[in-house]
Symmetry: C2
Subunit: 273 residues, 2 copies
DNA sequence: TTTCTTGTATTATTATATAATATATGTTGT
DNA sequence: ACAACATATATTATATAATAATACAAGAAA
């Protein structure tokens, strides 16, 4: 696999056009993120960073020091532990402020959120994952479900199924090939063929429903935002929670709302349709 | 100024513990951000990046290529222009998911948002700026006012004045010394002494009001989140818009709401108080 | 077409990142 | 309180890996 990449290929992950030190800097930031996930702690020691980023102590020392100076890491003077720095938000802001899709969708999503009193989200595909880019929280929304930048697997999220329903077969298979099919909750569907069936259904229906696939108690409904050629470029999604809501109620109330919202956003984003 | 830094000081912006290539990588990302601000465009050419990041063509080439491979920049194959990549959101997520303050505040902010039907925000200080870390949008909220990571000057924002009201005099002067006092709107107060007077008033009152200081038509009210020693660590803020709202209405309705919200968040974040 | 601007690829050079080591600081257990 | 240990910080010689000059290619403009 790696041998297929000519190490002299300038445009690759090696060669003179690739600056490995930049990658290592981000490896440290990802190590801090891993510590949050795996160790459940928000501050990390130097040795932990070295281990999680697979660097020696000296390298971890140089890169943490650099990132602290740039504001992307903060260092507790007393404990000497590192945590994510506020400056990181500026980077995400750069993506969001340039997203015309977010801009168009936000106002409509706020309005939709008021109709049935639910949270409303917008997400795009990134590799095998769905990434949330706009979130309108509502009362009783779990904290995790309010965070921009959060990612969940395409194959389990309603938004992922809905988007794949609006994608070519090649794209579906490409995406599934990159998916690991690890269960997220105890109800997660991990059989690729069942997932393909769900995608086919979503293609026919124009929406998808996931019952407790990503979070316990959560019933998630999503519909694709389509471009001028009818291909999915994003999905709008509404989450409601058991036992306040049942699947029947979702079908009766949320489905019409989310499909209408998706249609409106699509039409505004691509006025020529 | 630069001479004061011993170039052999290992913990500084030069020396063996500082990896300059990491900084240059971020310089490119900042150049893209500058292009958004100054050129008003979301995609940037290689030569523009070189100019905005103050690098030669070769350097810009190497760092853009690296960042594209890492997913932090996207490159349009046809136009050969660069724009921010989705992967940037993961970095901001890392900060947000670890913020206990955000977690505690979010639920209360959603509830407060429903009371008078307004947007509610949470922000922290970063240098001379206020950075928004939680935003609950509401109907008619301008897109800019929904974005996490957005920064506005401390000296003009109600949240900034409120936080400085809950800070030591040294900290106030430090912050003002780093401020440029450039007007944001045509009504922005740029006289440092008037700003000091506003901070003193906020200290006495426990809240601050900014009338069209950061955005036209926007009346912004903020109160500080205080730690166990009574020092400000954040601020909650509510924005309403003229002409639907007047200053009198804000004083009557929003002020009690925002001070109560700040008190609740403070008390939950520091239960010992 | 020609000319100019912008993007891509290659190369020799040495500056800059590296990792081994030494020292300092803090933490744990008896 | 003192060892014994773990972890963080500082220093240095070395060579790797980043650099920038340049050549080439591809679009855009005239």
């Amino acid at each position: 696999m790696a041998e297929l990449l000519d190490s002299r290929d300038s445009g690759s992950r090696s060669g003179t056009l690739y600056v490995a030190s930049v990658e290592k800097g981000f490896r440290v930031l990802r190590a801090v993120r891993r510590a949050q996930r795996e160790l459940g702690r928000n501050d990390v020691s130097l040795t932990e960073i070295a281990r999680l980023s697979d660097m020696d102590k000296s390298a971890a020392q140089r890169f943490t020091n650099t990132l602290v100076h740039l504001g992307y890491l903060e260092k507790d003077a007393r404990t000497r532990r590192y945590r994510p720095g506020v400056e990181l938000l500026e980077l995400g802001y750069s993506y969001l402020v340039g997203s015309r899709l977010s801009e168009i969708a936000t106002a409509r999503m706020v309005a939709a959120s008021n109709v049935y009193g639910t949270a409303v989200n917008l997400c795009v595909q990134h590799g095998p994952n769905v990434v949330y880019i706009v979130r309108i929280p509502h009362e009783n929304t779990p904290f995790r479900a309010t965070l921009i930048g959060r990612r969940v697997p395409m194959f389990s999220a309603a938004a992922g199924i809905a988007m794949l329903g609006g994608s070519s077969d090649e794209h579906v298979e490409e995406t599934l090939a990159r998916s690991d099919f690890k269960p997220v909750t105890e109800w997660t569907i991990t059989d690729p063929d069942v997932v393909r069936a769900r995608i086919a259904a979503a293609r026919a229906d124009g929406y998808a429903i996931s019952d407790q696939q990503s979070l316990p108690h959560e019933i998630s409904t999503a519909a694709p935002v389509l471009d001028a050629e009818g291909k999915a470029i994003a999905a709008v999604q509404i989450a409601v929670y058991r036992p306040s809501w049942t699947l029947d109620e979702v079908n009766a109330k949320i489905v019409p709302l989310i499909t209408e919202l998706a249609r409106t956003v699509s039409g505004t984003y691509f006025p020529e349709r």
